[in-house]
């Protein structure tokens, strides 16, 4: 009698833990008005991560009219890119700070998941410089540009002032054109929220078109406030940093993990890609691409996609939820956009002019993987116009093995699109297939 009862209970347990909604077609969540299904909170979130495998000489797949070449290989977790005016390409090798001691049993599991989804190569903490000396678009020289950094991510040059966003501070270095190595000690311009808890650690960086301000993306310190609201001070926001004084203010808030900060070239407005929250179901909440309004509040943590309240956040703030701005363009759920670049070059086919390329690192909590590619969002008059198109794919093979994961993007001076691939330890260059 006992064993029958036990078996029944075990079966019930299994049924209850395995049930969850089936993922929808991600195309229903791409564009200005994504379909938002009801919230589904899990007993066990479906942790479906892609197994990391090697490229073994293979390359990603590109859309018709394009070709892809390995720009650099054998790197140590390249995650972001910056092109200097003389054509030199900076590749930021970086990894996050060590996780804080676990505050609950789940942290032990999450730290393990984090390990399995990243390359076994120990990430660098430095910036490499690649130079193309013969004009073929591929580098012929490589130097260590800056070493011994602290989880760097964003880089921006204003005149002869180079800024690097470490995870805990923006550091200023003097730079002269043609320099291949910076030996000068950096000077801190501004502290950024770092450890001891430093959940979303990548600090994207860009400069205003007039060069007076810097903008830094500062991600939240949790999925949804589970490290306490006190850990979120100054986070989930875009900081505006005065370049002359180093003082800062929160330019926009409620952006859970904003990356790929870029000024749209036509309207000169700031745009970001944002990683939205997890564990509300396979299709909540869509990650997005949005323009950023000065003083705007974009929902996190209190609400998502405008005024949809998140039941996990206490105390509630209906006053803030009422003000929450609906983002401009959904990219579908859990794609993890970490890089963006507006294409202003002329190398790629005319089809790709003026819009934004987005690097999608890929999902971990969705039974059918989403993301793991670079997409193109067409723009007209400074606004997204049309469906996102897959441009660079083939990062995932056999449905669940990742040869690479795209992160930061950049456009080189010849108009090639560069893609940092952190688990593939490579940088890819996409250009027109026929000259």
């Amino acid at each position: 009698m006992m064993s029958v009862r036990l078996a029944t209970c075990a079966v019930v347990l299994m049924l209850l833990t395995s049930c969850g909604p089936n993922p929808i077609d991600p195309r229903r969540q791409i564009g200005p008005e994504p379909y938002l299904p009801p919230i589904h909170e899990y007993l066990l979130p479906p942790m479906h991560t892609a197994k990391i495998v090697n490229w073994n000489g293979a390359t990603p797949t590109v859309a018709p009219g394009l070709k892809v070449q390995a720009f650099a290989t054998g790197l140590a977790s390249p995650r972001s890119l910056y092109v200097l005016p003389n054509g030199d390409v900076l590749v930021v090798e970086t990894g996050g700070p060590p996780p804080p001691p676990p505050s609950r049993p789940k942290d032990l599991v999450m730290n393990w998941v984090e390990k399995t989804t990243h390359s076994p190569t120990k990430p660098g903490q430095r910036i490499l410089l690649f130079r193309d000396t013969n004009g073929d678009g591929l580098p012929d020289e490589k130097t260590v540009f800056l070493d011994h950094l602290n989880s760097p991510f964003g880089v921006v040059l204003v005149g002869s002032d180079l800024y690097v966003a470490n995870t805990d501070a923006v550091i200023h270095y003097p730079y002269t054109t043609g320099q291949t190595r910076i030996t000068a000690a950096g000077a801190k311009l501004c502290d950024l929220p770092g450890g001891p808890i430093d959940h979303h650690w990548t600090k994207s960086l860009t400069a205003s078109p007039d060069g007076t301000k810097l903008y830094a993306g500062v991600g939240s310190n949790s999925n949804i406030t589970e490290n306490g609201l006190q850990a979120e001070v100054g986070r989930a926001s875009v900081w505006e940093i005065d370049r002359a004084s180093g003082s800062h203010r929160e330019y926009a808030t409620g952006l859970r993990n904003p990356n790929g900060l870029q000024f749209e070239p036509q309207t000169q407005r700031l745009w970001v890609v944002v990683n939205e929250r997890d564990e509300l179901g396979p299709d909540l909440v869509p990650d997005y691409l949005t323009s950023v309004k000065d003083g705007g509040f974009y929902g996190w943590p209190y609400s998502y996609y405008g005024q949809h309240p998140d039941p996990r956040v206490k105390p509630e703030r209906p006053d803030l939820v009422r003000q929450a701005i609906v983002p401009d363009y959904a990219l579908s759920s859990h794609v993890a956009p970490l890089g963006m670049v507006f294409y202003t070059g002329t190398n790629l086919p005319a089809h790709y002019r003026g819009g934004a390329f987005v690097g999608e690192h890929g999902s971990w909590d969705r039974t059918i993987l989403n993301g793991y590619k670079v997409v193109y969002v067409p723009f007209q008059n400074g606004h997204p116009a049309g469906a996102a198109e897959d441009v660079v794919t083939g990062f995932v093979i056999d449905g669940d093995k990742a040869r690479g994961r795209p992160v930061g993007l950049a456009m080189d001076t010849q108009g090639g699109l560069l893609i940092a691939d952190d688990t593939g330890n490579s940088v890819w260059r996409v250009s027109a297939s026929s000259p």
Binding site: M2, R5, L6, C9, L13, L16, T17, E41, Y42, L43, L44, S103, R104, P105, K106, V109, S222, N223, I224, T225, E226, N227, G228, E279, P311, R312, V313, K314, P315
Partner: protein, 155 residues
């Protein structure tokens, strides 16, 4: 001579393993109810984090205690025949299953890791523990399960 009292098979030198282990999950599950109440009143993550550790420790040790108890239960017909023993066993199986659920609920982030489902499960578990505890004490103090009759008892 064989003991006239129902015997505990899983025992060390006449000390039944089950009763030595059960204080740990009982304290963990009762404390998890208290920390869940504290979280529901304050929304301070400290309390739900504490509940999560308590539930994990409680589930792990309750599985060991349950294994020892179940072995005693099936090994001696005199135990199986006790109504108190059957109530105690079934109730505590429910406690373990509900607490595994509860531990999973507590892996959610922030408020819904406790309110309403986690807190409800914690309260139900403590209520069941009152019943199964009472019956467990009946087994020992009234029916002398696992109690040595004399120093010459075969353990």
């Amino acid at each position: 001579m064989p003991s006239p009292n129902p015997r505990s098979k899983m025992s060390i030198a006449g000390h039944p393993l089950h009763v030595m282990l059960v204080p740990i999950p009982i304290v963990c599950f009762v404390a998890a109810l208290i920390t869940d109440i504290a979280y529901s009143q304050t929304a301070k993550m400290l309390w739900t984090d504490m509940s999560a550790w308590l539930l994990m420790a409680g589930v792990v040790v309750s599985l060991l205690a349950g294994l020892a108890g179940l072995t005693d239960f099936v090994s001696d017909r005199r135990i199986r025949d006790l109504r108190a023993a059957r109530i105690h066993a079934l109730g505590n199986i429910a406690v373990i299953i509900l607490s595994i659920f509860n531990a999973l609920i507590h892996t959610r982030d922030a408020y819904t890791s406790v309110v309403p489902t986690g807190l409800t499960l914690s309260a139900i578990v403590v209520l069941i523990l009152l019943v199964t505890g009472w019956n467990g004490w009946s087994m020992v103090y009234r029916h002398r399960v696992g109690v040595m009759h004399s120093e010459t008892d075969v353990p």
